[in-house]
């Protein structure tokens, strides 16, 4: 980590170093202060005693915060002190080629597997071993809780063990399991865990999205994109940008309306995150399975418009007023075609809830709604174009068009407020792509039919429950499939942005009012008639069903072809890069 010292800035190193000394000493002191608490708690509460009589209510309530919490606190502060003490070492480790990637991917899979394991144990404990269900009330708060785990020991179930396919059998004797399981019974705690998971995933999106966009832009423009920040392929570029933006000057234009100027980023930033409440990652993986999830997400994207308009309006700058005006025309006019294009999969699936729609596409990739009938195929593209416009991307990025309006409504924004706008924009992009993935590409359904999972299990006759769920998730349904599809559509948005020029505001409105809206209505009508003709209790026209089958096969084949085509061209391009770009160009590229 080269430390850049600017010659004219007198860095009095010793003043700096003793700040570091002071910080390390303070953190170490706080870490050590935890030790008496830990010793006292462990000695008094003696959490590991195996005598079931010891597991009273008070103990089960007090052990998690006092015993476990204090250990956690000590480790946290000790870790902070170590991090400040050996930051060069950490820097070198982090910038080693593969470490960053492992941490990044490991974190995602770690969270997913941790949450899944926790839920599995809780279910096996509650389903198999919980005989009687007594409940008592927490004194002053008046909240009821059941003695799920505690009852295990009163009914002396020691010796039982939970067998995991990879880790092997974990015996349940250790009461520590009680302390892990106990808080999970409260719906509030479960919600907090879910919120933690969602916020974690959401903050990953812009971090990863911005870095990926710059890499994709680089590759399209025959350059490398970020290569320096954080070692391997500049993985920490977004983190670096975030830190930089946080320390920028907090500038509010004098003439404008300060209150609205500061409020606008929140109105653009919060609705897309709220949209994640209703966006299901898998059948059980959804925060609130609203029956109106689809329209709820549309509503949230509608409110985002208000934030952008206020931003443009409050920055007292003619260019941002233009940006705000364009924003008002564009996003509102595109909500209607987008809303109607979403109705088509709803109609084909016959249910409004997103999980229901995804379930209807579980019979292998040819049952995905994109390939089901020609009208849904068109609806997918209509929806995708409308979604591009509604989150201000690619050919429709007029509100913040750099070359005409300086930066549209973002002209006066800088620093952290500016990054909040971008945070909101990337999250909105992912919500829109997630919606498209669920409605048209079968969400968390794998390309293989659901029945293939049972067939495979029968063939390989796997008994162990965990392994079965593993196979089922691979062959039938898994949140990772949803993330893959949504990320692919996210990539297509990036791809479009760096190839197409921007269209004019009157062309945007012409495209919407005179092209997209009538087309969506026609497709809506077509789809209703098509379903009417095809479905049994409907007209049940034989010839139409036959045609439907053929078209389904053709579209499915087209889908496979495009996927193979994209991957093939990318591989071909990657392999003989020299011939395509021209042998003069290659050796000019930096890095590598």
């Amino acid at each position: 980590m080269a430390s850049i010292t600017l010659p004219w800035v007198q860095r009095d190193t010793e003043k700096l170093s003793n700040y570091r000394e002071k910080a390390i000493r303070l953190l170490a002191f706080i870490a050590l202060a935890h030790i008496p608490i830990i010793l006292g708690a462990w000695f008094l509460l003696d959490p590991l005693s195996t005598k079931p009589a010891d597991l009273q209510d008070s103990k089960v309530l007090l052990v998690p915060p006092l015993c476990l919490g204090s250990i956690g606190g000590m480790l946290l502060f000790a870790g902070a002190a170590f991090a400040i003490y050996a930051y060069e070492l950490i820097g070198r480790v982090l910038s080693a080629p593969w470490v960053a990637f492992i941490i990044f991917i490991g974190a995602i899979f770690g969270i997913v597997i941790g949450v899944w394991l926790h839920a599995e144990i809780l279910m096996t404990v509650q389903r198999d071993w919980m005989p009687a269900k007594e409940t008592s009330v927490i004194p002053f708060v008046g909240i009821e809780y059941d003695h799920t785990v505690q009852s295990i020991y009163q009914n002396n179930l020691e010796g039982k063990s939970v067998d995991f396919p990879l880790i092997g059998a974990i015996s349940i004797d250790t009461p520590i399991l009680a302390y892990l399981m106990f808080p999970l019974q409260f719906p509030l705690v479960r919600d907090l865990v879910a919120v933690g998971g969602i916020i974690g995933f959401i903050s990953l999106i812009p971090g990863f999205g911005i870095w990926w966009e710059r890499k994709v832009a680089g590759r399209i423009q025959s350059r490398m994109g970020p290569m320096r920040a954080g070692g391997w392929h500049g993985w920490a570029q977004s983190a670096a940008d975030g830190i930089k933006l946080a320390f920028k000057e907090d500038y509010v234009p004098p003439g404008g309306d300060g209150v609205l100027f500061r409020l606008a980023p929140y109105i653009t930033f919060i609705p897309p995150i709220c949209a994640f409440i209703a966006l299901p990652f898998a059948t059980a993986w959804v925060f609130r399975d609203l029956d109106v999830a689809l329209i709820f997400i549309l509503a949230m994207l509608g409110i985002e418009v208000m934030g952008v308009i206020l931003a443009g309006w409050a920055s007292n700058n003619k260019w941002s007023v233009y940006g705000a005006m364009r924003e008002a025309c564009q996003m509102v006019s595109y909500e209607i075609p987008m809303g109607m294009a979403l109705l088509i999969p709803v109609m084909t699936a016959g249910s409004l809830s997103l999980t229901g729609i995804a379930e209807a596409q579980s019979g292998g990739f040819w049952t995905w709604f994109v390939f089901v009938n020609p009208w849904c195929f068109l609806a997918f593209f209509l929806y995708y174009v409308a979604s591009l416009a509604s989150c201000k991307r690619a050919p429709f990025d007029l509100p913040e068009s750099e070359s005409e309006l300086v930066a549209g409504f973002l002209t006066e924004y800088s620093g952290f407020r500016w990054s909040m706008f971008f945070f909101g924009e990337y999250v909105a992009m992912y919500v829109v792509c997630g919606l498209a993935a669920i409605l048209f590409l079968g969400g968390w359904m794998s390309p293989f039919p659901a029945s293939s999972a049972e067939w495979f299990i029968a063939q390989a006759n796997i008994e162990n429950g965990m392994l079965q769920t593993l196979v089922k998730s691979l062959l039938a349904a898994n949140p990772i499939w949803f993330i893959l599809k949504a990320t692919f559509l996210f990539f297509v948005q990036l791809w479009i942005r760096w190839t197409l020029p921007r269209i004019r505001i009157d062309q945007v409105l012409y495209a919407c009012v005179q092209v997209l809206l009538p087309a969506t209505m026609v497709v809506l009508l077509g789809n209703t008639l098509w379903i009417l003709g095809v479905s049994e209790n409907g007209l049940n026209l034989g010839w139409l069903i036959a045609i439907d089958g053929i078209i389904n096969k053709i579209l499915a084949a087209a889908g496979v072809l495009t996927l193979v085509g994209i991957v093939g061209i990318a591989a071909y391009g990657y392999r003989n890069n020299k011939k395509l770009v021209g042998w003069l160009a290659v050796d000019q590229l930096p890095g590598k």
Binding site: G142, R190, A194, F296, I303, V305, C329, S333, L509
Partner: protein, 177 residues
């Protein structure tokens, strides 16, 4: 991760519900007051967003999800943007003041007072058996709402049409001039 442990903690859920109710009610009333009092037109638009959002929150509390979402889309998403769009077309500076003459203010205050007296007398007089209504009768299970939703979908499209034509008209009218 959801809905595995059966819900027993009655008091916690109720605590949260009451708290949420008071918050949403407070937001709506405060923003409504803001709409009336504020001079700066754009701020009135923002307060309007606050009112509509608060009311939508109340609908959510009553488990009337569909109506809440429609409220959000049609009012907060559509009509409000139309109002702000109108504001932007007419005046250019962020300090566009909205100064109604004195006589209008007096008239408005009088009508407001009249309404206020009417409603409070009704609530306090006791004919309406609020207690009976207070128990939250769970609305019919969600699917029915979904069907109602679908049926409504075809009707609520009409405000969308109005919404669109209004915007289209606004834009075309502007270019004609």
């Amino acid at each position: 991760m959801d809905s595995v442990a059966a819900e027993q903690g009655r008091s916690l859920k109720d605590h949260m519900d009451d708290l949420a109710f008071y918050i949403f009610a407070a937001i709506s009333v405060a923003s409504a007051f803001g709409v009336v009092v504020s001079q700066n037109i754009v701020r009135t638009a923002l307060f309007l967003l606050g009112t509509l959002g608060g009311v939508a929150g109340l609908y959510f509390l009553l488990d009337a999800n569909l109506i809440a979402v429609i409220q959000l889309i049609v009012y907060a998403g559509g009509t409000l943007i139309l109002i702000v769009f109108g504001i932007m077309l007419t005046s250019k500076s962020p300090w566009a003041e909205f100064k109604p003459p004195k006589s209008q203010i007096v008239l408005a205050a009088f009508v407001g007072l009249l309404m206020f007296i009417g409603i409070t007398s009704l609530t306090l007089s006791g004919e309406v058996n609020w207690a009976a209504r207070a128990t939250k009768t769970p609305l019919a299970t969600s699917p029915k709402v979904a069907e109602a939703g679908e049926a409504l979908l075809t009707t609520y499209l009409v405000p969308f049409e109005v919404d669109l034509t209004a915007i289209g008209a606004a834009y075309l009218a502007k270019t004609e001039k």
